[in-house]
């Protein structure tokens, strides 16, 4: 039986509802362990006390265990619809399908914060478990820094956002989760995004630990690389899924809106991509050291900034969490300590780092420097556009404005296009000093193909904006230059296939990974361009029996039927799609109404092929006058090549995975200095 604090009475039938208390208690235990871990290992590293350093291993495991218990306790409350828990009442409903009850665990501010902390501790424990090749002292310091972040978030949760708060008397049913959020893509989207966001925390901890130690070298860069890659992969997948969700679920027919919440996930991605490349220079050439450290700090700082913006109500966005100034102030304090502290440490220690290997203006290093400069500028553009409304308001004493897609498209795309050009050449450059005329000579044929490909599209598509064609040419260029580089490395077509096969299997997996990821970006670019420049759209009032033709398809509207789902009812349109008189498929777009949440959603129906998506959605006509009696509003879009975006994103993630599986990262066990010997790039 449970004794409630408010009334002191015993309630029947709630014997099994102790779990939330267990969860709450587990969080407190995790905090206690995090406090120990923030102090003991780092002191041990300073004093050379091995036992203290090793304590980090067990406290990291303990933290992950207790936070997992708390997470499962909350999930159990959601699964069993325990409406004594406030968070469940506000974010669930007994009628909801089970999958979305489970996903409700991380659907709210409190729950997502718990997921955040869980992933934070998972990364700490993973370093404790797999980091056997990392020197004891660096590992101890890294885990202590990671524990500082844990302490910050655990106290934040326990003091301002406790997911286990109770309500009394418990209501009979919950207030549902926004039906928009009832989608598999969305259910999986936050965990992946958070793995990315929070994954960069461990890279941050490594960077701060290195600053405390005052030592960054090639070995450090190699230890950090797998963690950066893992976080980057998750973030890429998370962003792609989020955009997929916006495209398929929101029914707006777009995949990116430059909304503040999208931007704050995109900025760590841009910065993380820069970090990934700058760390290569540190690993191979022992250069760019303070720059790599700075990028590591900034990447995670931007993740934290995202958390802050989404939860503080600082900016207006379509999908922010509920606003609470107290929480905002707490996170700002966290930001000040973590970002301010690490950057102050950087300002103090970075000038003491010895500069690394020298290089000529035309070299692999210089190419990667260009990559870093462009990515940093692009991040700056997004950051500026996202926060400009706030700056403007502060500077003018209260005047407001909003920054929309026109700014971002005009400022971001021109910054990124030179990067795409450079990406084509970069992998051909050798370290220290490269032969640019030689490289360009090798790429003559690629350039010719890119021009021809663009001309072919121009001939077929009959017009379009110049920027579209320029982007298209660069996408062709990047794709073919990447393939060319790969075929040159394995000497394809230059000898027997068996030789090429042998060379391919001898090539480090990270090289294959780079090829796949770079080609993936080119593929995604085809998707961005096709679905932006050559999109066609029809919106009309139609009576049953009407025929519409769009993008070469003929669509017949057969009428509308009322159907029922588990917690909604819907008007379902019936469409028959054919081309040149040949039947292709039936489509059933729906307009769903969720009575409990009192909201409606658009469920578009899509015929998806590699060539493009035929995207249909349906709604009631706005005003019922004579001309629209019995009619429906039908919206049909044709988005050419849009699926290339998801294919390209998958290639990016797989490329990262291939690189992550490189055996040099797993074995190798580089001793300091031993790893400095630079490899000569394969021809």
């Amino acid at each position: 039986m449970v004794r409630t604090a408010q009334s002191g009475e015993f309630i029947e039938g709630v014997d099994d509802q102790m779990t939330p208390e267990v969860g709450h208690f587990a969080l407190a235990l995790a905090l206690a362990l995090a406090l120990v871990q923030s102090v003991l290992p780092i002191l041990g590293a300073k004093r050379g006390n091995i036992l203290w350093m090793q304590s980090a291993r067990w406290s990291a495991f303990g933290q992950v265990l207790f936070v997992t218990v708390a997470f499962l306790a909350l999930m159990q409350a959601f699964i069993t619809s325990d409406f004594t828990v406030k968070n469940v009442v506000e974010n669930s409903n007994s009628l909801k399908p089970m999958l979305y009850k489970v996903a409700g665990t991380w659907g709210s501010h409190e729950g997502s914060l718990l997921l955040w902390t869980l992933i934070l501790t998972v990364f700490g424990a993973a370093v404790a478990l797999f980091g056997s090749n990392i020197p004891q002292a660096l590992k101890a310091r890294t885990l202590s820094v990671q524990a500082w972040i844990s302490v910050g978030f655990l106290t934040f949760m326990l003091f301002t956002s406790n997911p286990f708060d109770r309500v009394f008397p418990p209501p009979s049913d919950g207030q549902d989760l926004n039906p928009l959020l009832q989608d598999v893509g969305l259910a999986m989207h936050p965990p992946l995004l958070y793995f990315g966001y929070v994954g960069f925390s461990i890279v941050f901890s490594f960077a701060v630990a290195a600053l405390i130690e005052g030592r960054v070298d090639a070995a450090w860069a190699r230890w950090v690389r797998p963690w950066t890659l893992a976080a980057w992969m998750s973030l890429t997948a998370g962003i792609a899924l989020g955009s997929w969700w916006a495209y398929y679920e929101l029914g707006w027919g777009g995949w990116w809106f430059w909304d503040p919440v999208e931007n704050v996930s995109f900025m760590p991605w841009l910065m993380g991509t820069a970090l990934l490349h700058s760390a290569i220079v540190t690993e191979k050439r022992d250069a760019f050291k303070s720059w790599t450290i700075l990028l590591a700090i900034l990447t995670f700082s931007l993740s934290l900034l995202g958390t802050f913006v989404v939860r503080s109500g600082l900016l207006t966005s379509v999908h922010a969490f509920a606003v609470d100034p107290e929480r905002g102030l707490y996170i700002l304090g966290l930001l000040a300590v973590s970002i301010g502290g690490s950057l102050a440490l950087f300002a103090w220690r970075a000038p003491m780092m010895e500069p690394g290997g020298l290089f000529k203006p035309i070299s692999r290093e210089a190419g990667l420097l260009v990559n870093n400069l462009i990515l940093t500028t692009a991040t700056g553009v997004v950051l500026f556009g996202t926060l400009y409304p706030l700056f403007y308001e502060a500077m003018t004493g209260g005047e407001k404005l909003s920054v929309g897609p026109p700014f971002f498209n005009a400022a971001f795309i021109p910054v990124m296009l030179p990067l795409v050009f450079a990406m084509g050449c970069g992998p051909f450059l050798s370290w220290k000093r490269a032969d640019l005329p030689g490289v360009l000579q090798r790429l003559r044929f690629v350039a010719l193909l890119a021009v021809l490909g663009t001309l072919a599209v121009w001939y077929l598509a009959e017009g379009g904006p110049v920027l579209g064609y320029l982007s298209l040419m660069l996408a062709f260029w990047l794709f073919m230059a990447t393939v060319r580089e790969w075929t040159m490395r394995i000497k394809l077509f230059e000898g027997p296939v068996s030789t090429s096969w042998r060379r391919a299997s001898n090539l480090p997996r990270s090289a294959h990974g780079m090829t796949l990821a770079h080609a993936g970006l080119a593929v995604a670019m085809f998707g961005f361009i096709g679905s932006t420049v050559w999109k066609s759209e029809e919106i009309m009032f139609v009576q049953p029996g009407a025929d519409i033709s769009i993008g070469g398809f003929d669509v017949r509207f057969n009428g509308v039927e009322r159907v029922r789902g588990p917690n909604y009812f819907a008007d379902r349109g019936e469409l028959t799609v054919s081309r040149d008189g040949k039947y292709l498929t039936d489509l059933f777009p729906e307009r769903r109404t969720y009575p409990v949440a009192q909201s409606t959603t658009t469920e578009s129906a899509i015929r998806s092929t590699l060539a493009g998506d035929l995207y249909t959605s349906i709604a009631n006509p706005a005003s019922e006058d004579a001309s629209t009696q019995g009619a429906w509003t039908l919206r049909i879009l044709y988005e050419p090549l849009v699926n290339f975006i998801w294919i390209g994103s998958a290639m990016l993630v797989l490329g990262g995975g291939l690189s992550l599986s490189d055996r040099r990262l797993r074995v190798g066990a580089p001793r300091r200095k031993a790893a400095v010997t630079a490899r000569v790039p394969a021809e």
Binding site: L314, P325, L332, P351, G404, P406, A622
Partner: protein, 188 residues
């Protein structure tokens, strides 16, 4: 030199932090802006209809001598929050019987027509403000913005940003009640 460079990130971060701290001021509401127009007559403007749409245009003359207060909503098809707001305004027209006028701000006529065809058109009249001139007269800071105008053409209330979410809707309805457009006590 390196020493000074190394301080740049910290300095920038501190400046950002200052802005954030200012932004968290509990008195600041990103959606609440005092307007010089409040209690003043609505500004002069005369806007033609959206080309290709049957809904008539809007001018100041439409805002005076009405039987009760009316809502003037500034929207655009390129504005994502406007989409979110659209259903709520539609409900106010359909359920509460309020009168809604629109100013279509810097929007291509064909885009605006498509947008209205897709989401529905709850507006009685819509002025097409292609140049943004009327927007200046109304003192717009962004889109969407929604005004409540009294029967005599006096601006009674201004709401900046989308009227979306329980709190925003409650505030807006309260303003409508004060204006006498809704009976009191129905808030919620």
């Amino acid at each position: 030199m390196g020493r000074i460079l190394a301080f740049i990130p910290l300095t920038i971060a501190a400046v950002f932090g200052g802005f954030f701290l200012w932004g968290l001021n509990p008195d600041r509401d990103p959606n609440n802006i005092p307007s010089v127009l409040i209690s003043q007559p609505a500004p002069q403007f005369d806007l033609a209809a959206i080309e290709g749409l049957e809904t008539p245009g809007l001018s100041r003359a439409d805002l005076v001598d009405n039987a009760g207060p009316v809502i003037v909503n500034v929207f655009a098809s390129w504005c994502v929050p406007c989409r979110a707001e659209h259903g709520i305004l539609t409900q106010m027209v359909e359920k509460d019987g309020l009168r809604l006028f629109g100013i279509n701000y810097k929007d291509k006529p064909e885009d605006a027509t498509k947008w209205l065809a897709e989401l529905g058109n709850p507006y009685e009249k819509i002025g097409s403000d292609l140049s943004g001139r009327a927007g200046i007269e109304w003192g717009l800071s962004g889109v969407p913005e929604t005004f409540i105008v009294g029967p005599d053409g006096t601006v009674l209330f201004r709401y900046v940003g989308p009227v979306v979410g329980d709190e925003a809707i409650a505030r807006f309805r309260e303003a409508l009640e004060q204006a006498g457009a809704l009976p009191r006590g129905q808030n919620g």
